[in-house]
Point group: C2
Chain length 575, copies 2
């Protein structure tokens, strides 16, 4: 029987609890959001003792289902002050599932300054001193932890940013090579882990059995269709494995939707210098790895290893959104500088999107010159050093804008907008405005039908059809996040009339139940309703579901503006 | 006929406008709040071009009415992001009234970094380069401006904090000696003036006639009763002139309501070192001035000049709330250090309450040791230098708490709580929670009936009667702020059944109208309703009308807690 592992970070004690009736059947984001809604006082200080960090594998995590290894982490966000779920690949999700742990809940907070690590094994839970890890970046921490607990151990840890409780701090997960290449990036959940003085969580499933599957024959059949569907789709079968998510650099720039110089224009003059094609050319020349998974069992493999010009390892998990945020947004055009900044972000444990956007805001405020990659590297080093300047930058774009008196700050619910301009990809703009998560492309990726021609075609520059697009995607995404599936499976699912049915077949086979595709929609809506309820209790109003006034500016080359009223946007999640 | 002077800070142009029907009969806070509600988009960025800085003398300002020289300044607050009115003494209010200027409205913002000063005279308005003042503190700026435009000229200016658009930045007014001793302190209005690149506003009424009085005989009679009433009341006639507002240090400490070490206890061990009695002893020994007005025509005279141990001028306008914030709150016990910090705040142009509370939060976050006055002076110097650390501190308590990951932050609507613990003076605690201004004792000073026995007696530790107390005071205060009267007149008014009638008589005599005391109440309610409406449009909900969770802690010596529910508090301004 699955259990909930509840850890008191002040008393350094833990309990295993049976899963209560109302949480049965939930996993991943469905579970983290439900527990946060039920247990966290919505008006509490996000770094206070009342907030909780909830970690949950998805419903399919740990099973042989391809791309099912995403780990959901939820809480009241230190950045948005609303509910948050952020997820990543890595090893932890599958291992927790195999240990029959449905969720780990970190509660309370220590009054002293002693850090701990939590080591979860098949027959033990230990809360140990983290003295030897404290103050170190994630690269060293993960290296030490793999050396001590073995390779392929699941690790999630915080760097210097999380220790300082900075609001852009991430929790990083060890990737397939034991490096902090996978980020639970958005919403500052690393700050919350830091406030609870947990430096790392180690998960080792040695001795645990497999995840139990009610009908393994049916499961195997469904998974075979599942893998085949992803291999056959051009995005999941070719685009992403071929160039990583950076395949989008040229695509989005061509669409005139690549926000450049703090969202002033939609095309970047130096786009070729930072494109996916350029990245792969350099990776191949320097002996890196073009394509690998973010977790075991991934068949898309959009991650990579990027070496420096000497052929030495520089960074991995080098995403399109990172390249955009640190690159076009700031007009930095040297890919090696961007890669170094990505590495620093992973090491210090800080969200690359938030940090890239923040560098641009610092440029807007005159702290450094537009396009100066070397100055940006110096700036981000301040986070690691813990200087006052580092604390400003590490608290994100809205905070830095406030510190510097900048009034053009691209945030929703205090979270930085990602790499698609909302005036040129209106379907995703609606998601930025309305998702309970704060500006987040992964919450309802309207780029699909707007730009990629996946799941239909909806004009990205017009209003028509985009509210329905964002709504449908937000519902579907919530369900995908509950399953522990990688969001990118959606590309194939959206273009395959059998797609949702395959997921339902896997769930039914694993749990011996009989869901229908409608049940999946109902689950997605129910997750969003839980999240909306939390935010309402936290004081959010419809005015928080809107883009800032800077998006009333006309946006070249299409010269469109943001034209959805707050009342129109209220319809998006009204169900 | 009175006019509205509207200045476009981008184009450097101005117009005089007739006062529209809907603004006739309004002055001071009534006028600033109405204009802000009507003209400022509630969801705009407070430092963006859509925000406006509205400056208005009170209805009685410029007349011979004693204590009528308060100047109201309103806007969307950079600190609270809600509506704001902050007022101070000085020369500007009476002079604007004599120039028949009912309000000055600063609009738009320049795109370049050139600062201007605005010089308003009887026959001209000039918008001039401020090059020679830029980068200087208020002491030098005011010295230069009096040298250039003459002594007793009205001056309001910003220091380095306002230039940096820091959210705790004040606008300072020249006091009777031409020093920046009077502060439009709360809500960060100096940041807004800085965003509009206005370094100073100079007001010279040479050549202007007197304010017209419809029935000067009746006015004179009413004013005589007015002055007599204030002279006869123990607080306005003896306490305040004798020891300044610092008379309260011992009183509030004795009451166990003097928040010490970031609101942990209600009594400060070293209270004698920072008491009003001690201050006056030092002033007398060092050849300072014990009692002077904050504006011409003041009969209470609670301001003072405080010299250093060499007998040289150190600071003035050394208020109880400043001594508390920089002193007991931080446990700094050296009055000379506190005075130096008060001076630095006036010079850099930053709110002393917000800054004192922020120093305590910096101590909470480990940036400096509790009680270390010298380290606090070094810290505040950073604001003047414009360093990243200065930018953190200068953005106030909530911002600094966020920067440092501190979760015990005493703010409401992001504005720091003043010098009376809400658990031991519940009448003022209700005001902190519910006033549209953010935590502000001057918005409804329940200390009167709770502690001072003025206007009745209501137990400060119990709930009973305190909601009605705060409600009544908030309404009355709004009306007093509209009249341009010093809030301290309320001490006498509350204890005198003729008090409100005298104010009404003066208004009627000046304007040839026939208000009743009920009309004054109606005006107060109408102001609060305007302010509530703006905040609602800006996204505030009832959850913003509550104290932070740290006030659930028991507070010694009375060991009371904050026990008003959010729903109870909604009743306070429900009329």
């Amino acid at each position: 029987m699955s259990k909930i592992l509840r850890i008191n970070t002040k008393k350094k004690t833990y309990t295993f609890e049976d899963v209560p009736e109302n949480l049965a059947g939930l996993g991943g984001r469905a579970l983290t959001s439900k527990i946060v809604l039920n247990e966290v006082p919505a008006t509490c200080h996000p770094l206070g003792k009342s907030n909780k960090l909830v970690i949950a594998p998805g419903l399919l995590s740990g099973s042989p289902a391809a791309n099912s290894g995403r780990l959901s982490v939820g809480a009241k966000s230190p950045l948005t002050k609303g509910i948050k779920e952020s997820n990543s690949g890595g090893f932890v999700s599958a291992k927790l599932a195999r240990l029959n742990i449905k969720a780990v809940i970190l509660e309370d907070k220590p009054e002293d300054n002693d850090y701990s690590i939590i080591v979860i094994k098949n027959d033990s839970v230990e809360i140990l001193s983290a003295n030897e890890y404290k103050g170190h970046g994630n690269y060293i921490v993960m290296e030490k932890l793999w050396a001590k607990y073995g390779e392929k151990t699941g690790v999630m840890s915080i760097g210097q940013a999380g220790e300082q409780c900075l609001k852009a701090a991430s929790i990083q997960q060890a990737d397939l090579n034991g490096r902090p290449g996978r980020a639970i990036g958005r919403g500052g959940l690393g700050a919350l882990m830091g406030s609870k003085k947990i430096k790392a969580i180690v998960v080792d499933d040695k001795g645990a059995g497999k995840v139990s599957i009610a009908d393994s024959e049916a499961f195997k059949k469904a998974n075979k269709r599942w893998v085949q569907m992803m291999k056959e789709h051009p995005v999941t079968g070719q685009g992403l494995p071929g160039l990583g998510t950076a395949v989008l650099v040229n695509v989005i720039n061509e669409a005139g939707a690549f926000p450049t110089k703090n969202f002033r224009t939609g095309r970047f003059d130096h786009v070729q210098d930072i494109s996916g094609e350029k990245m792969v050319e350099l990776i191949e020349k320097r002996g890196g790895v073009v394509s690998e998974g973010c977790h075991p069992g991934c068949v898309i493999k959009c991650s990579q290893v990027y070496n420096d010009k000497n052929g030495d390892y520089l960074t991995s998990g080098f995403e399109y959104e990172t390249i955009w945020a640190i690159g076009a947004h700031t007009t930095i055009k040297e890919l090696d500088d961007i890669a170094m900044l990505d590495r620093l972000c992973d090491d210090f444990g800080i969200d690359t999107i938030e940090t890239g956007v923040t560098i641009g805001i610092a440029m807007e405020g005159g702290l450094l010159n537009w396009g100066d990659g070397k100055a940006a590297i110096d700036l981000i080093q301040e986070i690691g050093k813990g200087t006052p300047l580092g604390k400003i930058i590490g608290n994100g774009a809205a905070f830095t804008g406030d510190a510097l008196g900048v009034d053009r700050i691209p945030v929703v619910k205090s979270q930085a907008l990602p790499a698609y301009d909302p005036r040129a990809v209106k379907g995703v703009g609606i998601t930025y405005a309305t998702t309970p998560m704060g500006a987040d492309h992964t919450a309802g990726y309207g780029v699909t039908a707007n730009i990629l021609g996946v799941g239909g075609q909806i004009d990205p520059l017009k209003k028509e059809g985009n509210i329905a697009l964002s709504q449908g995607l937000q519902i579907a995404t919530a369900a995908i996040d509950a399953a522990g599936l990688c969001l990118f499976v959606a590309f194939a699912v959206l273009d395959n009339e059998d797609g949702v049915q395959i997921i339902v077949d896997m769930l039914n086979a694993q749990y011996g139940i009989s869901l229908t595709p409608e049940d999946v929609i109902t689950l997605g809506k129910s997750i969003l309703n839980d999240e909306k309820e939390f935010n309402k209790k936290a004081g959010f109003t419809k005015l928080d579901d809107q883009l800032p006034e800077m998006f009333n500016e006309s946006f070249p080359p299409h010269n469109t503006t943001w034209d959805f009223s707050t009342d129109e946007l209220q319809e998006v999640l009204n169900f």
